[in-house]
Protein backbone atom coordinates (compact mmCIF):
# COMPACT_ATOMS: atom_id res chain seq x y z
CA UNK A 1 0.00 0.00 0.00
CA UNK A 2 1.27 3.44 -1.01
CA UNK A 3 1.31 6.20 1.59
CA UNK A 4 -1.29 8.86 0.73
CA UNK A 5 -1.05 12.57 1.51
CA UNK A 6 -3.56 15.41 1.43
CA UNK A 7 -1.98 18.19 -0.64
CA UNK A 8 -4.90 20.54 -1.22
CA UNK A 9 -8.16 21.44 0.50
CA UNK A 10 -11.10 23.68 -0.36
CA UNK A 11 -14.46 24.45 1.22
CA UNK A 12 -17.42 26.71 0.47
CA UNK A 13 -19.52 28.77 2.79
CA UNK A 14 -22.18 26.42 4.20
CA UNK A 15 -25.80 27.57 4.44
CA UNK A 16 -28.78 28.22 2.18
CA UNK A 17 -26.96 28.84 -1.09
CA UNK A 18 -29.60 30.13 -3.49
CA UNK A 19 -26.77 31.88 -5.33
CA UNK A 20 -25.29 28.62 -6.68
CA UNK A 21 -26.51 25.40 -8.28
CA UNK A 22 -24.89 22.09 -7.34
CA UNK A 23 -22.23 22.22 -10.07
CA UNK A 24 -21.19 25.77 -9.24
CA UNK A 25 -21.07 24.94 -5.54
CA UNK A 26 -18.85 21.92 -6.22
CA UNK A 27 -16.64 24.06 -8.47
CA UNK A 28 -16.08 26.58 -5.67
CA UNK A 29 -14.60 23.82 -3.51
CA UNK A 30 -12.73 22.07 -6.34
CA UNK A 31 -11.16 25.31 -7.54
CA UNK A 32 -10.00 26.17 -4.02
CA UNK A 33 -8.52 22.68 -3.54
CA UNK A 34 -6.72 22.70 -6.92
CA UNK A 35 -5.23 26.10 -6.12
CA UNK A 36 -4.21 25.00 -2.64
CA UNK A 37 -2.45 21.97 -4.17
CA UNK A 38 -0.92 24.04 -6.96
CA UNK A 39 -2.15 21.67 -9.66
CA UNK A 40 -4.43 21.79 -12.72
CA UNK A 41 -7.31 19.51 -13.72
CA UNK A 42 -5.02 17.67 -16.17
CA UNK A 43 -2.88 16.49 -13.22
CA UNK A 44 -5.84 14.67 -11.62
CA UNK A 45 -5.94 10.95 -12.50
CA UNK A 46 -9.31 10.11 -10.92
CA UNK A 47 -12.02 11.91 -8.97
CA UNK A 48 -14.96 10.94 -6.80
CA UNK A 49 -18.12 12.94 -6.16
CA UNK A 50 -19.81 12.42 -2.80
CA UNK A 51 -23.47 13.27 -3.16
CA UNK A 52 -26.54 11.75 -1.52
CA UNK A 53 -28.84 13.62 -3.86
CA UNK A 54 -32.54 13.17 -4.63
CA UNK A 55 -33.24 16.72 -3.32
CA UNK A 56 -31.12 18.10 -6.12
CA UNK A 57 -32.17 17.74 -9.74
CA UNK A 58 -29.22 15.95 -11.33
CA UNK A 59 -29.17 12.15 -11.14
CA UNK A 60 -25.60 11.82 -12.40
CA UNK A 61 -23.78 14.34 -10.21
CA UNK A 62 -20.32 12.88 -10.88
CA UNK A 63 -20.57 13.74 -14.58
CA UNK A 64 -22.38 17.08 -14.23
CA UNK A 65 -19.83 18.24 -11.65
CA UNK A 66 -16.92 16.80 -13.64
CA UNK A 67 -18.06 18.47 -16.85
CA UNK A 68 -18.69 21.83 -15.17
CA UNK A 69 -15.35 21.75 -13.37
CA UNK A 70 -13.27 20.81 -16.42
CA UNK A 71 -12.42 17.33 -15.15
CA UNK A 72 -13.89 15.40 -18.12
CA UNK A 73 -12.69 12.83 -19.37
CA UNK A 74 -11.08 11.73 -16.10
CA UNK A 75 -12.57 8.60 -14.54
CA UNK A 76 -15.14 9.19 -11.85
CA UNK A 77 -18.06 7.84 -9.85
CA UNK A 78 -20.64 9.11 -7.45
CA UNK A 79 -20.09 7.73 -3.94
CA UNK A 80 -22.88 7.43 -1.38
CA UNK A 81 -22.87 6.38 2.27
CA UNK A 82 -25.68 8.56 3.68
CA UNK A 83 -24.26 11.27 5.96
CA UNK A 84 -20.84 9.59 5.71
CA UNK A 85 -20.85 10.06 1.94
CA UNK A 86 -17.98 12.58 2.11
CA UNK A 87 -15.69 10.20 3.97
CA UNK A 88 -16.66 7.41 1.59
CA UNK A 89 -15.70 9.64 -1.37
CA UNK A 90 -12.34 10.23 0.31
CA UNK A 91 -11.96 6.51 0.93
CA UNK A 92 -12.37 5.61 -2.74
CA UNK A 93 -9.94 8.36 -3.83
CA UNK A 94 -7.52 7.27 -1.08
CA UNK A 95 -7.67 3.65 -2.18
CA UNK A 96 -7.08 4.61 -5.81
CA UNK A 97 -3.73 6.06 -4.75
CA UNK A 98 -2.89 3.49 -2.07
CA UNK A 99 -3.37 0.74 -4.66
CA UNK A 100 -1.08 2.51 -7.11
CA UNK A 101 -3.75 2.98 -9.78
CA UNK A 102 -3.66 6.80 -9.46
CA UNK A 103 -0.98 9.30 -8.44
CA UNK A 104 -3.32 12.24 -7.83
CA UNK A 105 -7.00 11.91 -6.96
CA UNK A 106 -9.60 14.46 -6.01
CA UNK A 107 -12.62 13.89 -3.79
CA UNK A 108 -15.39 16.45 -3.75
CA UNK A 109 -18.49 16.30 -1.58
CA UNK A 110 -21.46 18.45 -2.51
CA UNK A 111 -25.07 18.73 -1.42
CA UNK A 112 -27.92 21.06 -2.37
CA UNK A 113 -30.55 20.24 0.23
CA UNK A 114 -32.55 23.41 -0.37
CA UNK A 115 -33.45 22.10 -3.84
CA UNK A 116 -36.83 20.92 -2.50
CA UNK A 117 -39.19 22.14 0.28
CA UNK A 118 -38.25 21.30 3.89
CA UNK A 119 -41.07 18.71 4.52
CA UNK A 120 -39.76 16.77 1.50
CA UNK A 121 -36.25 16.77 3.00
CA UNK A 122 -37.74 15.55 6.31
CA UNK A 123 -39.46 12.75 4.36
CA UNK A 124 -36.32 11.75 2.45
CA UNK A 125 -34.01 11.59 5.45
CA UNK A 126 -36.74 9.85 7.46
CA UNK A 127 -36.71 7.13 4.79
CA UNK A 128 -32.93 6.75 5.24
CA UNK A 129 -32.69 3.71 7.45
CA UNK A 130 -35.15 0.95 6.70
CA UNK A 131 -37.93 2.40 4.60
CA UNK A 132 -40.29 -0.56 4.48
CA UNK A 133 -40.27 -1.63 8.13
CA UNK A 134 -39.51 1.57 10.01
CA UNK A 135 -40.85 4.43 7.88
CA UNK A 136 -43.80 3.35 5.72
CA UNK A 137 -46.15 2.63 8.61
CA UNK A 138 -44.55 4.52 11.47
CA UNK A 139 -43.29 7.82 10.06
CA UNK A 140 -39.97 8.07 11.84
CA UNK A 141 -37.81 11.05 11.03
CA UNK A 142 -34.06 11.46 11.16
CA UNK A 143 -34.21 13.43 14.43
CA UNK A 144 -36.58 10.68 15.60
CA UNK A 145 -33.92 7.98 15.12
CA UNK A 146 -31.42 9.86 17.27
CA UNK A 147 -34.17 10.76 19.73
CA UNK A 148 -34.56 7.01 20.36
CA UNK A 149 -30.91 6.95 21.42
CA UNK A 150 -31.33 10.12 23.48
CA UNK A 151 -34.29 8.68 25.40
CA UNK A 152 -32.43 5.49 26.31
CA UNK A 153 -29.17 7.27 27.16
CA UNK A 154 -30.88 9.90 29.28
CA UNK A 155 -32.86 7.29 31.20
CA UNK A 156 -29.84 5.06 31.85
CA UNK A 157 -27.33 7.73 32.87
CA UNK A 158 -29.68 10.32 34.42
CA UNK A 159 -28.83 12.94 31.84
CA UNK A 160 -31.02 16.01 31.40
CA UNK A 161 -31.93 17.93 28.26
CA UNK A 162 -29.91 20.83 29.72
CA UNK A 163 -26.80 18.62 29.60
CA UNK A 164 -27.27 17.88 25.90
CA UNK A 165 -27.79 21.62 25.31
CA UNK A 166 -24.17 22.20 26.38
CA UNK A 167 -23.00 20.55 23.15
CA UNK A 168 -25.06 23.02 21.12
CA UNK A 169 -23.65 25.93 23.15
CA UNK A 170 -20.06 24.80 22.46
CA UNK A 171 -20.56 24.13 18.77
CA UNK A 172 -22.41 27.39 18.16
CA UNK A 173 -19.59 29.19 19.99
CA UNK A 174 -17.04 27.76 17.55
CA UNK A 175 -19.40 28.31 14.62
CA UNK A 176 -19.38 32.00 15.54
CA UNK A 177 -15.60 31.94 14.97
CA UNK A 178 -15.80 30.15 11.61
CA UNK A 179 -16.75 32.34 8.62
CA UNK A 180 -17.66 29.21 6.59
CA UNK A 181 -20.26 28.09 9.17
CA UNK A 182 -24.00 28.26 8.50
CA UNK A 183 -24.70 29.71 11.96
CA UNK A 184 -22.50 32.54 13.16
CA UNK A 185 -24.48 33.16 16.32
CA UNK A 186 -23.78 31.91 19.81
CA UNK A 187 -26.63 30.30 21.76
CA UNK A 188 -27.25 29.86 25.49
CA UNK A 189 -28.55 26.79 27.32
CA UNK A 190 -31.74 28.78 27.89
CA UNK A 191 -32.20 29.42 24.16
CA UNK A 192 -31.63 25.73 23.36
CA UNK A 193 -34.15 24.74 26.04
CA UNK A 194 -36.74 27.17 24.69
CA UNK A 195 -36.39 26.00 21.08
CA UNK A 196 -39.23 23.80 19.80
CA UNK A 197 -39.20 20.03 19.97
CA UNK A 198 -38.67 18.34 16.62
CA UNK A 199 -38.61 14.77 17.98
CA UNK A 200 -38.85 14.54 21.77
CA UNK A 201 -36.45 14.85 23.59
CA UNK A 202 -34.53 16.61 20.79
CA UNK A 203 -35.26 20.23 19.98
CA UNK A 204 -34.48 22.43 17.02
CA UNK A 205 -31.29 23.69 18.66
CA UNK A 206 -30.18 20.11 19.39
CA UNK A 207 -30.25 19.48 15.65
CA UNK A 208 -27.96 20.15 12.72
CA UNK A 209 -29.62 22.21 9.99
CA UNK A 210 -30.53 21.56 6.37
CA UNK A 211 -27.52 22.85 4.44
CA UNK A 212 -26.10 23.52 1.00
CA UNK A 213 -22.34 23.28 0.70
CA UNK A 214 -19.31 21.64 -0.84
CA UNK A 215 -15.77 20.66 0.15
CA UNK A 216 -12.89 19.09 -1.77
CA UNK A 217 -9.52 17.49 -1.09
CA UNK A 218 -6.66 16.66 -3.42
CA UNK A 219 -4.79 13.46 -2.49
CA UNK A 220 -1.40 12.42 -3.81
CA UNK A 221 1.06 9.54 -3.62
CA UNK A 222 3.95 10.01 -1.17
CA UNK A 223 6.44 10.92 -3.87
CA UNK A 224 4.20 13.54 -5.46
CA UNK A 225 2.93 14.85 -2.13
CA UNK A 226 6.49 15.67 -1.06
CA UNK A 227 7.07 17.48 -4.36
CA UNK A 228 3.82 19.46 -4.20
CA UNK A 229 3.99 20.71 -0.63
CA UNK A 230 6.26 21.15 2.36
CA UNK A 231 3.39 20.29 4.69
CA UNK A 232 1.64 17.16 3.43
CA UNK A 233 -0.92 15.75 5.83
CA UNK A 234 -0.95 11.95 5.69
CA UNK A 235 -3.98 9.74 5.86
CA UNK A 236 -2.53 7.48 8.50
CA UNK A 237 -5.45 5.11 8.91
CA UNK A 238 -9.11 4.73 8.19
CA UNK A 239 -11.59 2.43 9.91
CA UNK A 240 -14.92 1.63 8.29
CA UNK A 241 -17.96 -0.23 9.57
CA UNK A 242 -21.69 -0.61 9.08
CA UNK A 243 -24.67 -1.08 11.36
CA UNK A 244 -28.05 -2.80 11.06
CA UNK A 245 -30.55 -1.21 8.71
CA UNK A 246 -33.39 -1.66 11.19
CA UNK A 247 -32.92 0.26 14.41
CA UNK A 248 -34.93 -2.47 16.11
CA UNK A 249 -31.94 -4.78 15.61
CA UNK A 250 -29.64 -2.65 17.77
CA UNK A 251 -28.83 -4.33 21.06
CA UNK A 252 -29.12 -1.15 23.10
CA UNK A 253 -29.44 2.54 22.36
CA UNK A 254 -26.45 3.74 24.34
CA UNK A 255 -23.82 3.96 21.61
CA UNK A 256 -23.26 3.37 17.91
CA UNK A 257 -21.67 -0.04 17.40
CA UNK A 258 -20.41 0.94 13.94
CA UNK A 259 -18.47 3.88 15.43
CA UNK A 260 -16.88 1.62 18.03
CA UNK A 261 -15.80 -0.84 15.34
CA UNK A 262 -14.51 1.83 12.92
CA UNK A 263 -12.47 3.51 15.65
CA UNK A 264 -11.08 0.16 16.83
CA UNK A 265 -9.78 -0.49 13.30
CA UNK A 266 -8.39 3.03 12.85
CA UNK A 267 -6.69 3.09 16.27
CA UNK A 268 -5.11 -0.31 15.67
CA UNK A 269 -3.73 0.71 12.27
CA UNK A 270 -2.47 4.08 13.58
CA UNK A 271 -1.04 2.72 16.83
CA UNK A 272 -3.37 4.75 19.03
CA UNK A 273 -3.83 3.30 22.49
CA UNK A 274 -4.76 6.41 24.45
CA UNK A 275 -6.89 8.56 22.14
CA UNK A 276 -7.09 11.66 24.35
CA UNK A 277 -3.30 11.69 24.77
CA UNK A 278 -2.34 10.89 21.21
CA UNK A 279 -4.94 12.92 19.26
CA UNK A 280 -4.66 16.72 19.24
CA UNK A 281 -8.07 17.59 17.81
CA UNK A 282 -11.18 15.77 16.64
CA UNK A 283 -14.18 16.51 14.46
CA UNK A 284 -17.01 14.17 15.36
CA UNK A 285 -20.43 13.57 13.86
CA UNK A 286 -22.73 15.82 15.92
CA UNK A 287 -25.82 15.72 13.71
CA UNK A 288 -27.64 15.99 17.04
CA UNK A 289 -26.31 16.92 20.47
CA UNK A 290 -26.76 13.35 21.73
CA UNK A 291 -24.64 12.13 18.80
CA UNK A 292 -21.61 14.09 20.02
CA UNK A 293 -21.93 12.58 23.51
CA UNK A 294 -22.22 9.07 22.05
CA UNK A 295 -19.16 9.83 19.88
CA UNK A 296 -17.05 10.76 22.94
CA UNK A 297 -17.74 7.30 24.30
CA UNK A 298 -17.71 5.31 21.05
CA UNK A 299 -14.30 6.83 20.20
CA UNK A 300 -12.88 6.13 23.64
CA UNK A 301 -12.56 9.76 24.78
CA UNK A 302 -14.67 8.77 27.80
CA UNK A 303 -15.99 5.56 29.32
CA UNK A 304 -19.58 4.51 28.58
CA UNK A 305 -21.93 6.79 30.51
CA UNK A 306 -19.23 9.34 31.25
CA UNK A 307 -19.27 11.28 27.99
CA UNK A 308 -21.62 13.84 29.45
CA UNK A 309 -18.95 14.74 32.01
CA UNK A 310 -16.58 15.84 29.24
CA UNK A 311 -19.01 18.51 28.07
CA UNK A 312 -20.10 19.47 31.59
CA UNK A 313 -16.43 20.06 32.47
CA UNK A 314 -15.73 21.81 29.13
CA UNK A 315 -13.05 19.22 28.35
CA UNK A 316 -13.88 19.29 24.63
CA UNK A 317 -13.26 23.01 24.23
CA UNK A 318 -9.91 24.25 22.91
CA UNK A 319 -7.33 23.69 25.65
CA UNK A 320 -9.35 20.85 27.21
CA UNK A 321 -8.62 17.12 27.39
CA UNK A 322 -9.50 16.72 23.71
CA UNK A 323 -10.87 19.62 21.61
CA UNK A 324 -13.87 18.54 19.54
CA UNK A 325 -15.53 20.32 16.62
CA UNK A 326 -13.62 23.59 16.75
CA UNK A 327 -15.20 24.38 13.35
CA UNK A 328 -18.71 24.48 14.84
CA UNK A 329 -19.47 20.85 14.04
CA UNK A 330 -22.48 19.75 12.03
CA UNK A 331 -24.61 21.59 14.53
CA UNK A 332 -23.40 25.12 13.70
CA UNK A 333 -21.16 24.74 10.66
CA UNK A 334 -23.99 22.90 8.90
CA UNK A 335 -24.57 19.41 7.51
CA UNK A 336 -24.64 19.28 3.70
CA UNK A 337 -24.79 15.46 3.67
CA UNK A 338 -22.27 14.62 0.90
CA UNK A 339 -19.94 17.49 1.82
CA UNK A 340 -19.85 16.89 5.58
CA UNK A 341 -17.12 14.24 5.68
CA UNK A 342 -14.94 16.10 3.19
CA UNK A 343 -15.46 19.28 5.23
CA UNK A 344 -14.20 17.36 8.27
CA UNK A 345 -11.05 16.41 6.34
CA UNK A 346 -10.53 20.06 5.34
CA UNK A 347 -10.79 21.06 9.00
CA UNK A 348 -8.38 18.32 10.14
CA UNK A 349 -5.81 19.42 7.54
CA UNK A 350 -6.11 23.11 8.43
CA UNK A 351 -5.78 22.28 12.13
CA UNK A 352 -2.64 20.19 11.53
CA UNK A 353 -1.15 22.89 9.28
CA UNK A 354 -1.88 25.40 12.07
CA UNK A 355 -3.69 27.68 9.60
CA UNK A 356 -6.65 28.67 11.73
CA UNK A 357 -7.25 31.81 13.79
CA UNK A 358 -5.87 31.38 17.32
CA UNK A 359 -9.40 31.46 18.82
CA UNK A 360 -10.15 28.05 17.33
CA UNK A 361 -6.70 26.63 16.53
CA UNK A 362 -5.96 23.55 18.64
CA UNK A 363 -2.52 23.02 20.14
CA UNK A 364 -0.82 20.58 17.78
CA UNK A 365 1.54 18.50 19.90
CA UNK A 366 1.42 15.02 18.39
CA UNK A 367 0.48 16.14 14.89
CA UNK A 368 -2.57 13.87 14.87
CA UNK A 369 -6.20 14.72 14.07
CA UNK A 370 -9.27 12.46 13.96
CA UNK A 371 -12.43 12.71 11.90
CA UNK A 372 -15.53 10.67 12.77
CA UNK A 373 -18.25 10.61 10.14
CA UNK A 374 -21.45 8.63 10.68
CA UNK A 375 -23.97 7.77 7.97
CA UNK A 376 -27.60 7.50 8.96
CA UNK A 377 -28.02 6.47 12.60
CA UNK A 378 -24.86 4.41 12.90
CA UNK A 379 -25.66 2.73 9.59
CA UNK A 380 -22.19 3.68 8.34
CA UNK A 381 -19.14 4.83 10.30
CA UNK A 382 -15.85 6.17 8.98
CA UNK A 383 -13.04 7.09 11.37
CA UNK A 384 -9.99 8.62 9.75
CA UNK A 385 -6.66 9.50 11.37
CA UNK A 386 -4.70 12.33 9.74
CA UNK A 387 -1.10 13.03 10.74
CA UNK A 388 1.78 15.38 9.97
Amino acid sequence: MQKVGVVGVGITKFGKRNDANMNLLAWEAINAALQDAGIEQKDVDFFTVGNAGVWSEELLPAVTVGDYAGLTPKGTMRVEAACATGSAAIRVAYQSIASGSAKIALAVGVEKMYGVPVPTVVELIGRAGNFFWEFENFGLTFPGYYALYASAYMAKYEVKEEDLALVSVKNHYYGSLNPYAQFQKRVSVDEVMKSKYVAYPLKLLDSSPITDGAAAVVLASEELARKLTDTPVWIKAQGVASGSSNLSKRSDFLGLEASVEASRQAYKAAGIEEPTKQIDVATVHDCFTIAEILAYEDLGFAKRGEGIRLIREEQTYKGGLIPVNLDGGLKAKGHPIGATGVGMAVEAVKQLRRELPSTRQADIKNGVALTHNVGGTGHFAYVTIYSL
Binding site: K16, N18, D19, E57, P117, P119, T120, V122, E123, G126, R127, N130, F132, W133, E134, F135, N137, F138, G139, L140, T141, P143, G144, A147, L148, Y149, A150, S151, A152, A155, K156, K196, Y197, V198, A199, Y200, P201, L202, N246, L247, S248, K249, R250, D252, F253
Partner: protein, 154 residues
Protein backbone atom coordinates in the same frame (compact mmCIF):
# COMPACT_ATOMS: atom_id res chain seq x y z
CA UNK B 1 -42.88 37.35 -8.08
CA UNK B 2 -42.75 35.22 -11.23
CA UNK B 3 -41.05 36.43 -14.40
CA UNK B 4 -43.26 36.64 -17.47
CA UNK B 5 -43.03 33.53 -19.70
CA UNK B 6 -40.42 31.95 -17.46
CA UNK B 7 -40.86 29.69 -14.41
CA UNK B 8 -38.46 31.84 -12.42
CA UNK B 9 -39.36 33.24 -9.00
CA UNK B 10 -37.38 35.34 -6.54
CA UNK B 11 -36.79 33.75 -3.14
CA UNK B 12 -38.85 35.47 -0.44
CA UNK B 13 -35.88 36.00 1.84
CA UNK B 14 -32.74 36.52 -0.24
CA UNK B 15 -34.51 37.68 -3.46
CA UNK B 16 -32.27 35.40 -5.59
CA UNK B 17 -33.89 33.98 -8.75
CA UNK B 18 -34.86 30.28 -8.71
CA UNK B 19 -36.02 28.27 -11.74
CA UNK B 20 -39.00 26.18 -10.64
CA UNK B 21 -38.80 22.72 -12.26
CA UNK B 22 -41.89 22.13 -14.42
CA UNK B 23 -41.52 18.33 -14.55
CA UNK B 24 -43.08 16.88 -11.43
CA UNK B 25 -42.02 13.35 -10.47
CA UNK B 26 -44.26 11.10 -8.40
CA UNK B 27 -42.63 7.98 -6.93
CA UNK B 28 -44.75 5.11 -5.65
CA UNK B 29 -42.83 1.90 -5.12
CA UNK B 30 -44.11 -1.62 -5.78
CA UNK B 31 -42.46 -3.95 -3.29
CA UNK B 32 -42.58 -7.76 -3.74
CA UNK B 33 -43.81 -9.54 -0.60
CA UNK B 34 -44.59 -13.06 -1.81
CA UNK B 35 -41.75 -14.56 0.27
CA UNK B 36 -43.09 -13.05 3.50
CA UNK B 37 -46.78 -13.28 2.66
CA UNK B 38 -47.61 -15.36 5.79
CA UNK B 39 -46.77 -12.27 7.86
CA UNK B 40 -49.53 -10.24 6.17
CA UNK B 41 -51.99 -13.14 6.35
CA UNK B 42 -51.20 -13.32 10.06
CA UNK B 43 -52.08 -9.66 10.53
CA UNK B 44 -55.51 -10.36 9.01
CA UNK B 45 -56.06 -12.96 11.73
CA UNK B 46 -54.82 -10.60 14.43
CA UNK B 47 -51.51 -12.44 14.77
CA UNK B 48 -47.96 -11.12 14.55
CA UNK B 49 -45.83 -13.78 12.92
CA UNK B 50 -42.10 -14.05 12.40
CA UNK B 51 -40.02 -16.63 10.54
CA UNK B 52 -37.74 -18.88 12.58
CA UNK B 53 -34.84 -20.64 10.86
CA UNK B 54 -35.41 -24.40 11.03
CA UNK B 55 -31.66 -24.98 11.27
CA UNK B 56 -30.29 -22.39 13.72
CA UNK B 57 -33.56 -21.22 15.36
CA UNK B 58 -32.85 -17.53 14.76
CA UNK B 59 -36.03 -15.48 14.66
CA UNK B 60 -36.16 -12.73 12.03
CA UNK B 61 -38.12 -9.59 12.73
CA UNK B 62 -38.76 -7.74 10.53
CA UNK B 63 -39.49 -10.96 8.62
CA UNK B 64 -37.13 -12.19 5.92
CA UNK B 65 -37.37 -15.47 4.07
CA UNK B 66 -33.69 -16.34 4.08
CA UNK B 67 -31.32 -17.16 6.93
CA UNK B 68 -28.06 -15.71 5.57
CA UNK B 69 -26.01 -17.55 8.21
CA UNK B 70 -27.33 -21.03 7.37
CA UNK B 71 -27.81 -19.98 3.73
CA UNK B 72 -31.21 -21.67 3.81
CA UNK B 73 -34.79 -20.58 3.39
CA UNK B 74 -36.42 -23.29 5.47
CA UNK B 75 -38.40 -21.14 7.85
CA UNK B 76 -41.08 -21.96 10.33
CA UNK B 77 -43.56 -19.13 10.98
CA UNK B 78 -44.11 -18.60 14.70
CA UNK B 79 -46.43 -16.26 16.55
CA UNK B 80 -44.59 -13.61 18.59
CA UNK B 81 -45.31 -13.04 22.26
CA UNK B 82 -47.08 -9.81 23.05
CA UNK B 83 -45.55 -8.44 26.24
CA UNK B 84 -42.67 -6.05 25.69
CA UNK B 85 -40.38 -3.71 27.58
CA UNK B 86 -39.71 -0.24 26.16
CA UNK B 87 -36.03 0.33 25.31
CA UNK B 88 -36.25 3.71 23.59
CA UNK B 89 -38.91 6.08 22.30
CA UNK B 90 -39.54 9.44 20.69
CA UNK B 91 -42.47 11.68 19.91
CA UNK B 92 -42.45 12.94 16.33
CA UNK B 93 -43.46 16.58 16.20
CA UNK B 94 -41.91 17.76 12.91
CA UNK B 95 -43.39 15.24 10.48
CA UNK B 96 -42.40 13.98 7.04
CA UNK B 97 -44.31 15.26 4.00
CA UNK B 98 -46.44 12.12 3.77
CA UNK B 99 -47.40 12.16 7.50
CA UNK B 100 -48.57 15.78 7.61
CA UNK B 101 -52.19 14.66 8.07
CA UNK B 102 -51.47 13.14 11.49
CA UNK B 103 -51.11 14.66 14.96
CA UNK B 104 -47.91 14.21 16.99
CA UNK B 105 -47.20 10.50 17.49
CA UNK B 106 -44.98 8.28 19.63
CA UNK B 107 -42.68 5.64 18.17
CA UNK B 108 -40.75 3.19 20.33
CA UNK B 109 -38.51 0.14 20.25
CA UNK B 110 -39.40 -2.59 22.75
CA UNK B 111 -37.96 -6.00 23.55
CA UNK B 112 -40.05 -9.16 23.52
CA UNK B 113 -39.31 -12.15 25.70
CA UNK B 114 -37.93 -14.01 22.66
CA UNK B 115 -35.07 -11.49 22.85
CA UNK B 116 -35.99 -9.67 19.66
CA UNK B 117 -36.88 -6.00 19.39
CA UNK B 118 -39.82 -4.49 17.56
CA UNK B 119 -40.15 -0.90 16.41
CA UNK B 120 -43.69 0.46 16.21
CA UNK B 121 -45.99 3.32 17.15
CA UNK B 122 -46.76 3.55 20.87
CA UNK B 123 -50.44 4.44 21.04
CA UNK B 124 -50.88 6.61 24.11
CA UNK B 125 -51.71 10.17 25.17
CA UNK B 126 -49.19 10.07 27.98
CA UNK B 127 -45.43 10.23 27.44
CA UNK B 128 -44.11 6.68 27.95
CA UNK B 129 -41.17 5.83 30.16
CA UNK B 130 -38.08 3.80 29.18
CA UNK B 131 -38.38 0.41 30.89
CA UNK B 132 -42.18 0.42 31.02
CA UNK B 133 -44.29 -2.57 29.99
CA UNK B 134 -46.15 -2.50 26.69
CA UNK B 135 -48.38 -4.85 24.76
CA UNK B 136 -47.88 -5.57 21.08
CA UNK B 137 -51.19 -5.44 19.20
CA UNK B 138 -52.60 -5.47 15.71
CA UNK B 139 -54.44 -2.30 14.81
CA UNK B 140 -55.40 -0.18 11.82
CA UNK B 141 -53.54 2.96 10.84
CA UNK B 142 -55.23 6.15 9.67
CA UNK B 143 -55.29 4.81 6.12
CA UNK B 144 -57.31 1.80 7.30
CA UNK B 145 -54.42 -0.64 6.84
CA UNK B 146 -53.47 -3.34 9.32
CA UNK B 147 -50.30 -2.58 11.28
CA UNK B 148 -48.82 -3.58 14.62
CA UNK B 149 -48.41 -1.15 17.50
CA UNK B 150 -47.63 -1.00 21.19
CA UNK B 151 -50.07 0.02 23.89
CA UNK B 152 -48.97 0.71 27.47
CA UNK B 153 -49.94 -1.78 30.20
CA UNK B 154 -50.83 0.23 33.29
Amino acid sequence: MRLENLPIVKDEKDCLPLFIDQRELILKYQIPVSDIYPFFEGLKEGKILAPKCSTCSRIYFPPQSVCPFCKKSEMQWIELSREAQLLAFTQIIVKPQSFQDEGDYYVGVARLKEGINVLARVVTDKRPRVGSKLRLEVTKNNKGNLVYCFVPID
